[in-house]
Structures are given as structure tokens and as C-alpha cells.
Amino acid sequence: MDPTDSTAEYPPDSPVLADLAASWKSAYIHVPFCARRCPYCDFAIVDESAGGAADHTTYIGAVAAEIGMAADFGPLDAVNFGGGTPSRLAPELLERVIGALEVQFGLSEGAEMSLEVNPEDWSDEYGRGLVDAGFTRVSIGAQSFDPAVLDALGRLHDPDAIARTVSGVRTVGISSVGIDLIFGHPAETAASWERSIAAAMALEVDHISTYSLTVEPGTALSREIRAGAPAPDDDVQADRYHRFCDVASGHGFVRYEVSNHARDGHVCRYNLSTWAHGEYVAFGLGAHDHRWGRRERNHRRLDRYLGAIEAGERPRVGVEHLDDFHQERDRLMLGLRLAAGTPLTPTAERFAASEAGRRFIQAGILEAGDGRLRIIEPMMTDAVAREALSVSWHDC
């Protein structure tokens, strides 16, 4: 069954689907450009408010060249443009990348072609350009429907722009639309989160990702907190998360990963495959690629990245070789984020039977049964993953 049929056939949290996704092949393209840096963000981006608009054409030329240097992988089942802000690129540039991918690897029938769009970049004309380029899915960086929270998050759009973008995506005929939300900023209240949830439901999108605000070291947010600004509260975030899950499931959303909820047929294939330990090629600044038991990463600095491409070299800065056991450990660590969980392999079973595993099971956080090991309290995923990483071949 090909990925298109599988996603139509199985619910988003289906173990069968998750296991199938482990063999899908994806591509990730990093688009580093942002209008400005949001205070909580530590991604590898190019802040265009600092040095004026960067040379998008040169960058995309380099990405295309990088794709041309990649070893063969076979046809791609999902392509995802992430960032940064992919919607800062003209559709023609995006199309050039898709063309390069098609030439180098091929695209499977009905492949998922997805990108992240910021509401302030949207116009229906832009959307038509995306359709022409071949996109089938748009994920909108909505973040919140509360103007005060949007402001605190340093976002440039207002709540109305989100609604306009959603209906625009529908109008131009893109078949799957999702929004991203960030919850738990100290500027958010229980009531404003409630309103954001209601507004998100009212838009009747196909997919919602909800991310708890995380304070990354070195960001403006972390500096403000050190200087005395209020920090996000874990308990509040847990409450907000659970509240969202409750409402969303009442509206037909199925949570298939810690942060991802989809209606039937709308699981993000790239996303699901990544967590199911699927393989992906990745191109662009700071991109990470996972193939054949290797994890490789690109330069995070634009000049180095471009310099390497210009010199005709692959822009890699690091590679990690994983033997069978370490791949198995990664599969376990990643699979624990999925609602479908991970197959109860001998390694997973050893973990479940370990002292730490038993404690999680006893505390109602982890569950082993029906051939799966799955987390039933997603807010505690890292606690479990941390222990799962320390199982060894010899543990019993």
C-alpha cells in the first residue's frame, strides 16, 4: 500500500500506520530566512531585519546544487520545507528545489508536498503559485489567537490574518491545511488559551500542532527571564496541554504524536515518518539528514554553507554512525513520542521490564501491551526517553 492509500486507510494514531511510516522516504529543506528573530527562537536562521533581504536566489541555487550532489535514495514520499520561514521565498524558487528533488530522487505518486507559511506572507496569488509549484499541504505559523500573546511572542501578524490565510489556502485548492500553536507563554492566561483553542476549532483545519513554549539558552527570552521576567510554568503548561487535547479530540482530532493532532487522512507524513525512525534526506543551512544508519548535519553558518557549495563540496560539518543497537535505541526514543508507541522489540521489552520502566508503568505514564510500548502521559515523554536511552544489550 502506498503512503497516500495508507494515510487514507488508517487513523492517525494507528500502530500499523506508524510502522509503515518507518519505511517512507522524506526530504527536508531548510529555508533560513525570517523577517526578524522571535525572542524564543534558537534555530539557524538569517534575520533579514538586520542586514536587509538576503539573496534568496543564491541560496536556492546552492540548495539545488547540494541536492545534485546527494547519493540516490529512491522516490520521495514526503517533502517538507521548514524554517526559518519558507513563505519568504517566491514560489518559483520553491519550485526550483522541487524540480531538483524530482530529478535527483523522483517523487512517488501523490507525494506529500508541505511547507510552513507565516500569515503575514500570505496572499491568494502567492497560494496559487504554491499550487503551481506542486504543494499539497500548508502549515500555518498561527501560534496564538490572542493579540497580547502574539505580541509577547514577537510575531508580526494579527489573529485575523490567520483566518484569512486558512480560507485562502482552501480557496486556492490546497487539500490539507494545518496550524501551529505555541502555549504556555507567561503572557497567556487560561481564558486566552481557551479562546485560542475555540478559534482554532472554528477554523476547521485538518491538522494542529501545539508546542509548549520552551526557554532555550542564549535566546532573548532566556535573558529576560534571567533579568526577572516570569518564566513559563510546567504545571500551567501541563494544564493547557491537557485542555487542548480534550477539546481537540471532541472536534475529531486524533493526537498521533506528543504535539501533533490530525483529522483522519491528514496525518503529516513527513512528521510521522520522522518519529517512526524513517529515513530522510535534508538540505540547506543546518539541515540534518538520516540515512543508512548515519546522521549527518550541515553548517549552521550561511557563509560556510555557501562557501562549501561553491567549492563543490557537500556542506557537512558532522556525521554520526550508529550501529544496530544505537539505531534501535533511537527508534525507541523517537517512537515513544508517537501515540501509537513503538513495537515491543526485545530492546523495548527490556526497558519495560527494567526498574525505571516498571516505575513509569506503575505511575500510569507508560504502557506495554498488544505488542506496543507507548506513553500514555505525553507530557512526561522526556522523562521516559531519558531512561530508555540507558537500556543496554545486557539489561533484563
Binding site: D42, S212, D235, S259, M333, R359, A363, M380, A383
Partner: protein, 563 residues
């Protein structure tokens, strides 16, 4: 000549206090041309070491009682003066530090005459710093103090007043020969121990050792026998001839008695053997140090150690940490309780873990001490209030001068060990001084407070306290632990209990969120490394039942309880 000649240990030199007695012989030509040999013993002044002071006094004809001209008589001065008077010694009052701008030598001399009787004019005024008055003092010594008596022809009687361990020569004993003579090659007997030894070498210290071959009645010097076990040659024992020795020892022999007990545990469990070796080594020079292996569920393997007092405890800990590079955690200090059992027996209790079950327990007795406090009179009210809040009973009160008063109390030692000394110092801005001596045991309303984590008692935090203080202790500990123990997978109740009765309770709420949002662009490597690093940070956790407690939490909770 370097400063602090007789304070030879690093710690003594650094802290500026004498921890170990030292002896020295000097030659002196008096003003009238007579030649004298002066044998001096420098003793510690602190109450913890008063046993050593009393042994040294027993070896002397006279004593110099020094007071600081800027401070006047302090509690230790008085305690040591009484010891000297009891030993029947001639006392020369000396007012030192007259060079100081804040010096009030007349007031100090007045206080001394109040204590010793006699005229304020008897005090010799000196400055050890400038040398002023030192000649007067030396003249006063040869004029006032009687020369040593003793019968050179009688059987040997020599008092061991100190000993130390030398890596090459073994135990070196410092002795005062009272009767007879001590000569190399002879065989001598330790009367209290009942052990015979060969005299390998004798001589005097100046303060470097100088071999003389023999010491006769009236002389002070050292003795080497090749003995390696310091436990054999105890301070206070009397040496006599192995053959046809004296029948009566010099004076009653007392073991120095530890007053304060505390558990010492290495923070790194692997250091247990190193701690044992370090204690063994320290004991070579400090026979008052007693210890016994102890196991704590929370802290692992360690020792219950008996100390002469709080200063002694502090010094031993500091030496272990510094000289042996050990990182230690100490449980709250305890005194020696006596548990009276229902069956009529009695059990010695050195810490909460020794306390019998309440079913077998009839009553608990605790040690009381006679306390002497000397304070500027403006603080009398403050001191009285403090003493009363610590279960003290008022005794006599004497004015040393219109501005300074001497107060006597009877008080549980446990209160002094707890925080009394610090409170006294802080409430009198450092002006009050304190000394105490054992008095008696009394039945008290004492209870053991246990601290429970998730219903499991944590032995390291148990303590024996007076009932009136139990509630405050329980509340403080429970509160501290709530802040120190990280949130777990489930709610963790922290309770303080007396027996089965809970007196304080707080809860560490279950952790509800431990997840980060997303991975940047599929960077699984970074995510994994972060998790592994966090896991590494959890390695120093100890399991108390099913609760993970960071080692630091134990250490921090115990450290706070010291403050």
C-alpha cells in the same frame, strides 16, 4: 625566630589557636646572676581541651594566667584559674597585649585580683608582641614559683602529660618526672595500663628534641619506647620502674570523655576506606578521638565519631577534609543520652539510631553541664532570657567589675551543642564568653523525631530533641526537604513524626511535565545528547524507598541544620 613557635600544626598556625599542648625548656640567667632551667608547657585554652589543661597542671609547680588587656577575664580564663587553684599551684596573674590601643590593663588587673584574691598590683603587665614586661615576668617566675620538689632517690614516678606520634620514632610521650629518675636502657611500667616498656631514648625539647640520656625528679622531657600504638601510652598515666616500682600512681587517671557525637559520611561512597585510614592516622595524635563504623540507608557507610566538644568536632572535620582531601557530610551533633529500659537496664545512646523502641523505653536521661558565662553587664538581661529559653537554671552571679559579670547556670549540654554558643555570641555582639563542665544526668522529656519520605524514615535526619523543640525541628526539616527534593513521578509526602504521630507534613507534588516541544529540523543527535546529559546529572541520586533524592539534598539539608 618565627612566630607561634609552639603552635606547630598548620591548622593551629592558621586559626591562631592552640589545639595541642607543647613543652619547651629554656635556660635563664636571673638579674642576680643565678642560672635557672625553666620548663614551660603551653596548653590550649578552649573548654574542649580542658582535660589536657588539667593533665598539664598536674605536671607543674605554678601557672601563668594570661588575660588579654583589651578583653579582661574570660570564661575560659576563669575555668582554667579554678583548675590551677584546685591543683594547688602558685599562680602569677599576667596582663598581656598592653601595647594595644584598646588595652585597659588596670581593669584587667582588677578583674584578675577579684578572681584570684590578692592585690591588682600583683599582675605582671606585658606585651608578648613588643617584649615589654617580659623581663619582669621571668623574674616573677623565679622569685614566686617554688622550685620542683620530689625525691630523686625514691622509685620512679613520672606523669605522662601529652603524647604525639612521630612517623619515624613512633609514640613520643611528654613526661614530668616527679620522683626518681628515668634513664635510657631501663624498663618502666605504665601503672594504669599495666604494661612494661623499654626506655629507648629520653631528652628535653627546646623545642627541638635534645637527647640527654636521663631525666631526674623535677625535670620535664620526652620519652621514646618504640611503641607504635598511641592507645598504649595514655595521657594521665604514671610511669614507674618495672622492677621495685612505686605503689601509688601520681593522680587519678581519667579517660578523656567525648561529649559530642556525630555521624561522618563521605559524600562519595567510594571514599569510605580512605575515611577510615584518615581517622586512624588522626587518632595517632589525638587519643580522645573515638569512632565506630556506622551504616546509614541515606548516606551509606561512615563513622559515628565522638568529640570532646564542638570546636574539636570542627577541627577534626576540617583536618579530614583538608589534610586527607575528603568531602564529608556530618549528621546533626548529638550528646550521650542514657536510655532507662522497662526491664531495669540502661543503654547508652550516641545518636537517634541507638534509641530503643518506645515499648522498651522507660525514660531518657540527658547530660547537664555547669555553664559559666562572662558578659558585659549590659547584656545580663539578654543572656538570662536566652538561657531560660534553652532550659537553663540560674545559679550564682558575681560582678567581676561594675561592667562585667560572671553568671552560672545548669543547662542541658544538648542545648549548647544545638545553637546556644552562636546565639550567645550574636546576642552579645561577641562579648560574652562561655565555659562549661559536666554536672549530672537528669531525666528529661526527650523524643526522637523521624523524617519520613513517602512513609519511609530517613535515618540521616532523625534526631533526639526535647519535646518542646520537636515541632520546630520537624517543621523546619520538612520544609527544607520540600525545597530540596525534586518532583517525582508521584506525590511524595514528607513528614516529621514522633513515633507514629505526625507532627509536620508537606508534599512534593508529582512532576507533570517533562518534555520539550520539538526537535529542530530533525536534529535527533542533539536531542539524544541533551537527554543523555540530563540523565548523567541524575546519577548522583540515592533511592529512599521509591523516591529519588539527589545526594546534594542530603548534604544541603544537613548543612542548613548546622546554621
Amino acid at each position: 625566630m618565627r612566630d607561634q613557635v609552639l603552635d606547630e600544626m598548620d591548622l593551629e598556625r592558621e586559626r591562631g589557636i592552640t589545639i595541642k599542648a607543647n613543652a619547651v625548656r629554656i635556660d635563664y640567667t636571673a638579674a642576680n646572676g643565678d642560672e635557672y632551667e625553666l620548663n614551660l608547657i603551653d596548653t590550649p585554652g578552649h573548654v574542649d581541651f580542658s582535660y589536657e589543661v588539667s593533665r598539664s597542671l598536674a605536671a607543674c609547680e605554678g601557672a601563668l594566667l594570661l588575660v588579654d588587656a583589651s578583653q579582661g577575664v574570660e570564661a575560659q580564663t576563669l575555668a582554667n584559674a579554678y583548675l590551677a587553684v584546685e591543683s594547688g599551684l602558685e599562680i602569677i596573674p599576667v596582663v598581656n597585649k598592653i601595647d594595644l590601643a584598646a588595652a585597659d590593663p588596670d581593669r584587667a588587673a582588677g578583674e584578675l585580683s577579684g578572681v584570684l584574691g590578692g592585690d591588682p598590683g600583683d599582675a605582671v603587665m606585658v606585651s608578648a608582641k613588643s617584649g615589654a614586661g617580659i623581663d619582669d615576668l621571668l623574674e616573677a617566675i623565679v622569685e614566686t614559683l617554688p622550685p620542683p620538689g620530689g625525691r630523686p632517690e625514691a622509685p620512679l614516678r613520672a606523669l605522662v602529660f601529652d603524647s604525639y606520634y612521630d612517623t619515624y620514632r613512633g609514640v613520643v610521650a611528654l613526661v614530668r618526672v616527679v620522683d626518681g629518675s628515668l634513664t635510657e636502657g631501663e624498663r618502666v611500667r605504665l601503672m594504669a595500663r599495666g604494661v612494661d616498656l623499654d626506655v629507648d631514648e629520653v631528652g628535653v625539647r627546646r623545642p627541638k628534641i635534645e637527647r640527654t640520656g636521663s631525666l631526674v625528679a623535677g625535670e620535664v622531657g620526652y620519652l621514646m619506647t618504640g611503641v607504635k600504638d598511641i592507645g598504649l601510652i595514655r595521657v594521665g598515666d604514671t610511669l614507674t620502674n618495672a622492677d621495685k616500682g612505686a605503689s601509688e600512681p601520681l593522680s587519678g587517671y581519667d579517660e578523656p570523655k567525648p561529649m559530642v557525637f556525630s555521624g561522618l559520611f563521605p559524600t562519595d561512597g567510594d571514599d569510605f576506606e580512605r575515611l577510615r585510614e584518615a581517622l586512624d592516622k588522626l587518632r595517632l595524635n589525638d587519643s580522645s578521638l573515638l569512632y565506630q563504623a556506622e551504616t546509614s540507608r541515606a548516606l551509606g557507610f561512615g563513622f559515628r565519631v565522638g568529640f570532646l566538644g564542638l570546636l574539636h568536632m570542627e577541627i577534626v572535620r576540617e583536618r579530614l577534609e583538608r589534610e586527607y582531601s575528603l568531602d564529608l557530610v556530618a549528621t546533626a551533633p548529638s550528646v550521650e543520652y542514657r536510655a532507662n529500659l522497662v526491664d531495669g537496664g540502661q543503654q547508652i545512646v550516641h545518636g537517634p539510631q541507638d534509641l530503643p523502641d518506645s515499648g522498651r523505653l522507660l525514660s531518657i536521661e540527658e547530660p547537664y553541664v555547669k555553664v559559666m558565662i562572662i558578659t558585659p553587664s549590659q547584656y545580663i538581661g539578654t543572656v538570662m532570657e536566652l538561657v531560660q529559653s534553652r532550659r537553663g537554671e540560674m545559679g550564682e552571679m558575681n560582678y567581676l567589675s561594675p561592667e562585667r559579670v560572671e553568671l552560672h547556670y545548669l543547662m542541658p549540654l544538648a542545648e549548647i551543642v544545638f545553637d546556644f554558643f552562636d546565639m550567645l555570641k550574636s546576642r552579645t555582639r561577641g562579648y560574652a564568653s562561655l565555659d562549661y563542665e559536666p554536672a549530672e544526668y537528669r531525666i528529661s522529656d526527650l523524643v526522637r523525631v523521624d523524617i519520613l519520605l513517602n512513609a519511609q524514615s530517613v535515618d540521616a535526619f532523625s534526631t533526639v530533641v526535647h519535646k518542646d523543640r520537636a515541632y520546630a525541628y520537624g517543621r523546619a526539616m520538612v520544609h527544607k526537604l520540600r525545597e530540596l527534593i525534586p518532583r517525582q513521578l508521584f506525590d511524595v509526602p514528607i513528614q516529621a513524626a514522633i513515633g507514629s504521630r505526625i507532627i509536620a507534613r508537606e508534599t512534593v507534588k508529582a512532576k507533570r511535565k517533562d518534555v520539550t516541544a520539538k526537535c529542530y529540523g530533525g536534529d535527533i543527535t542533539r536531542k539524544r545528547k541533551l537527554l543523555e546529559r540530563q540523565k548523567e546529572g541524575k546519577k548522583r541520586m540515592k533511592m529512599v524507598g521509591s523516591v529519588e533524592v539527589p545526594q546534594e539534598a542530603f548534604v544541603a539539608a544537613l548543612r542548613i541544620s548546622e546554621d
